[in-house]
Symmetry: C2
Subunit: 339 residues, 2 copies
């Protein structure tokens, strides 16, 4: 079932069929109808590989993600997918990479298959990224601190500062922070925002109150248990993402510590379930789907108007503080202890 079959049935040449189907040039109305009828009758669907080869475009963009935890991952894909389909693009996805080498390999395999790439590679060094990326290919980086490439970043720094200030305003001074993976750019920025805000507020940040974490519920759970053993016990926990905050919440519940009266807990991301845990989580909202959407927008610009594609454009996603029930003033906690 090729374009020639359609051409034969319609009594025209393959070129005319192509013209009708692409609608770029003028065709006589009568001819047009014949071709359309023939295509319809034959259930003709163009072969995408052939077209890609010919026009040197695949109408597909690649998405390369690390092994990100569930909700974030799917939201990014959804955001890109919706935007992409609106403009007739398809998406080729590759996630869950155990290591950087594997990710680079995937990147290579996408060559020729995609018109552009959205890459989220918090762990891959800039140097090796640059080396393995087909240089001509439009590219948008997600959450990377790399310069010289188009990139979308989340205002991690500002968000972390806002949350820290909120906790301080509530009266907390001993605030524990559960960190994300050390190589992760988002995690680093959140930590930096926390530290700077603490310092700016004249509060001391003790390294003992900065716990290791890996963005998973398990690590948040473990970190919270450690925090409970610290003397003097902190009055608030700020986790670098919601998953860890959820894990911490579970650990506190198991230990009989009431949130927020005995311990305030804050997260980051505002993943869908954040409002359904008990108590609903105070967090920093990041519109993850919008992140994907804008990444695609930037990429599309680079693909369709290569001339305008000034490498190094940066788009920053704002964050907003979402106050729910998991944080309150430490005074209330004292009351709780008295009773």
């Amino acid at each position: 079932m090729t374009i020639h079959d359609v051409a034969a049935r319609a009594g025209v040449s393959a070129a005319t069929v192509s013209r009708v189907l692409n609608g770029k040039t003028v065709v006589r109305e009568e001819t047009l109808q014949q071709v359309l009828a023939a295509a319809e009758a034959l259930c003709y669907v163009p072969n995408v590989a052939a077209r890609s080869l010919s026009i040197r475009r695949s109408q597909t963009i690649g998405i390369v993600l690390p092994d990100v935890h569930g909700e974030f991952f799917s939201e990014v894909i959804r955001g890109i997918d919706v935007a992409a389909r609106r403009t007739g693009y398809h998406i080729l996805v590759s996630g869950s990479h155990s290591d950087a080498g594997e990710m680079l390999e995937v990147l290579a395999a996408m060559r020729g298959r995609v018109d552009g790439l959205v890459v989220m590679a918090p762990d891959v060094s800039h140097a090796s990224l640059h080396r393995s990326l087909p240089s001509g290919l439009p590219l948008v980086l997600l959450n990377s601190t790399d310069n010289g490439r188009d990139a979308i970043t989340i205002d991690n720094y500002g968000g972390a500062q806002a949350m820290t200030r909120l906790l301080a305003e509530l009266g907390h001074s001993r605030i524990a922070f559960i960190k994300g993976p050390a190589q992760n750019a988002d995690a680093r920025e959140r930590l930096r925002g926390f530290r700077d805000a603490m310092n700016g507020l004249g509060l001391t940040v003790s390294r003992r109150l900065e716990l290791a974490g890996s963005f998973t519920e398990e690590s948040g759970h473990a970190a919270a248990l450690k925090i409970l053993k610290t003397k003097p016990r902190p009055t608030a926990i700020f986790a670098a993402n919601d998953s860890m905050a959820v894990g911490a919440l579970a650990a506190l519940a198991e230990s009989g510590v009431v949130v927020p009266s005995q311990m305030s807990v804050a997260g980051f991301d505002d993943i869908p379930i954040a409002r359904y845990v008990a108590p609903p989580l105070t967090t920093i909202r990041v519109d993850i789907a919008d992140l994907g959407r804008r990444a695609f927008g930037l990429l599309l610009g680079a693909i369709e108007r290569p001339a305008f594609a000034a490498a190094g454009r940066r788009d920053r996603i704002a964050t907003t503080l979402i106050i729910r029930k998991s944080c309150c003033s430490p005074e209330i906690r004292k009351k709780g202890e008295e009773s």
Copy 2:
């Protein structure tokens, strides 16, 4: 940068380069090294579109999903992606379809781009699915009750029965059920399992205790509030998926109803956060990533050995009961009421 450039640099023909790169036929060791060196020096990467066109294979499979809620969605993709990459396949994803028509359109657009399809279309009628699917294309259906096609299903019926029996054994007789979308095949099977188990146990199933739901937290939240108003009040809630159970848990907490002592709550799916809500959710585990993995396995079989591809093979994923803290005997509740 084409195969001819490499050929020129290595002083051989394009055919030889192709042979070296594909390793299918014998090439003299010396020639092989020269070609490899040339390819390396030129950073040559084959053009996938050209290769696909030539061998009529794209080494890519398409995944078409409805707009599924976060965790399930990403787990399925992850399962398929991991399995696919192991065998050198790529995945083309399309999710979040607002309606069946849009989904069919996407299906058409994937023609020629993929070697096979994994489709999860609980809402699309079998008839229209069959019509719009390129007939020659290998296909695996996910969670569909359709016959005559390869398909993977979850043992929704058995799982729902097991959970219902557990609740009955604990002593519950007034059990409310929060349903999923009416058109969703999984949801229907879970409801059927619940009803049959209830009947088998000699318990009455009142339509008033079967609440509408849509697999979202919000709908679970709303349903739980309605359940609390029912007289006599049920002693247990069985939600058709975890997301709704989480929503119900939040509604109960807001209303001051203690789980499990005053109300037992059970879910279905065992999504990652199920163990981190308060109290940890008793649920039915479905290995979602495995679902994806096996779907790919079935598809791969159909692609690589079309002769063996007996349409209509069915693979059923078993479910297991996961007992956590959200369910207990209703007796304890009475005690709670007495105190």
